[in-house]
Chain length 220, copies 2
């Protein structure tokens, strides 16, 4: 538990009693890449705090298309998997491990109880929701107002920054799932980027060969 | 002030002292249709509570396109106009009066202080944000996965329900602003609806002539 307390952002703002109640039930889990750790039809996962790895939240349409809402990294905490205890949160979000990951989960009911008795926890939950709302607003603006070339350039640059390399191992299908579009649309735009000398495409990888130019597209 | 206390949803959960601090500074305003009551560049409006009329929150792109985020009616409260005191809320939302309206505003700083000292207020703010987040998720799903004919049918039916009439006085331009698209796109689809016998278009009005059929399109 020493470890969880170091990762949970407001541990020091909890009372001894609240810390104990959390320690008694917090669950540590290790999942492999590709695991769906939360979907709306399953039981409620609760509040999650990431120890290592990388997770993504996304929504899924009836016909199987996806769009990424946000990404979670080491030290991040997410409330989206605790929406079951929040009557105002009516939506279906899924969370999957993009890499082998480790995380803790605090059962939704316990978190709700503590939120109802602690201003610090309630305000923290509000701040998490504010961030989620801002992310969603940003994403909406991207989708509404930005053309697909800019969104794709921004996506590739963000991936390169997350992975720390300009040689991305990612399929066109996966990019399409992040961006809420079809694989063909991604492939067509990537070929255009390749013709312009900004990327080099090989089977299963996309290498960014002209970051400056890609950056210009993004900010055009 | 008797009146404000009847409209503010958590008035009874405030202490006498908090009620007094709010009463001292709450501002009552009357605005005419079309007034922009909040935009991100102006000073912070604070928390608003609607007494009468109709407001809408929307985002605006650099090239002037709009999309409606939500609508506020009598007894509704909105935090979006208090985002200035919430460091996690980084986005530009505008609020305009769609009809002549009356509302109260509580200055953002006072609301933040009370939120930091009262669990009831903090939880209420969280619940407002949850609702906003859910609305935005719904809107995003609409935009991402629903074709424009379904969205337009849903919009017309919602307008008819809000206005209590099947004869809508609304321009194609205004509909385009709600839906984040161009006027031409709206006009083209409305003409298609007219050819199908679902609406009748005259200058400045759209009359819904076949609600059942329009409803079918929406749920197709």
């Amino acid at each position: 538990m020493m470890s969880f307390s170091a990762y949970f952002p407001i541990w020091d703002k909890l009372t001894k009693d609240q810390q104990n109640r959390i320690s008694d039930v917090v669950e540590f889990r290790t999942v492999t890449k590709g695991t769906i750790i939360h979907d709306s039809s399953a039981e409620c996962l609760g509040l999650i705090t990431i120890r290592s790895g990388q997770l993504r939240s996304f929504i899924l349409s009836e016909d199987g298309r996806e769009i990424t809402i946000n990404r979670l990294f080491e030290y991040d905490t997410s409330l989206l998997s605790a929406s079951c205890v929040m009557p105002d949160m009516q939506f279906n979000v899924m969370i999957e491990a993009e890499k082998d990951s480790e995380f803790w989960s605090i059962p939704a009911c316990l978190f709700k109880n503590i939120m109802d008795e602690s201003i610090a926890v309630s305000n923290y939950a509000r701040s998490l929701l504010s961030s989620n709302f801002s992310e969603l607003m940003w994403l909406m603006e991207q989708i509404m107002w930005k053309s697909f070339d800019k969104r794709l350039a921004a996506f590739l640059l963000e991936e390169a920054s997350i992975e720390g390399t300009n040689c991305l191992k990612i399929t066109h299908e996966i990019i399409a799932n992040h961006m809420g579009t079809a694989r063909e649309v991604v492939t067509r735009m990537l070929r255009y980027f390749q013709n312009e000398g900004m990327v080099r495409l090989t089977r299963g990888t996309i290498e960014i060969t002209d970051e400056v130019k890609l950056n210009k597209i993004q900010n055009l």
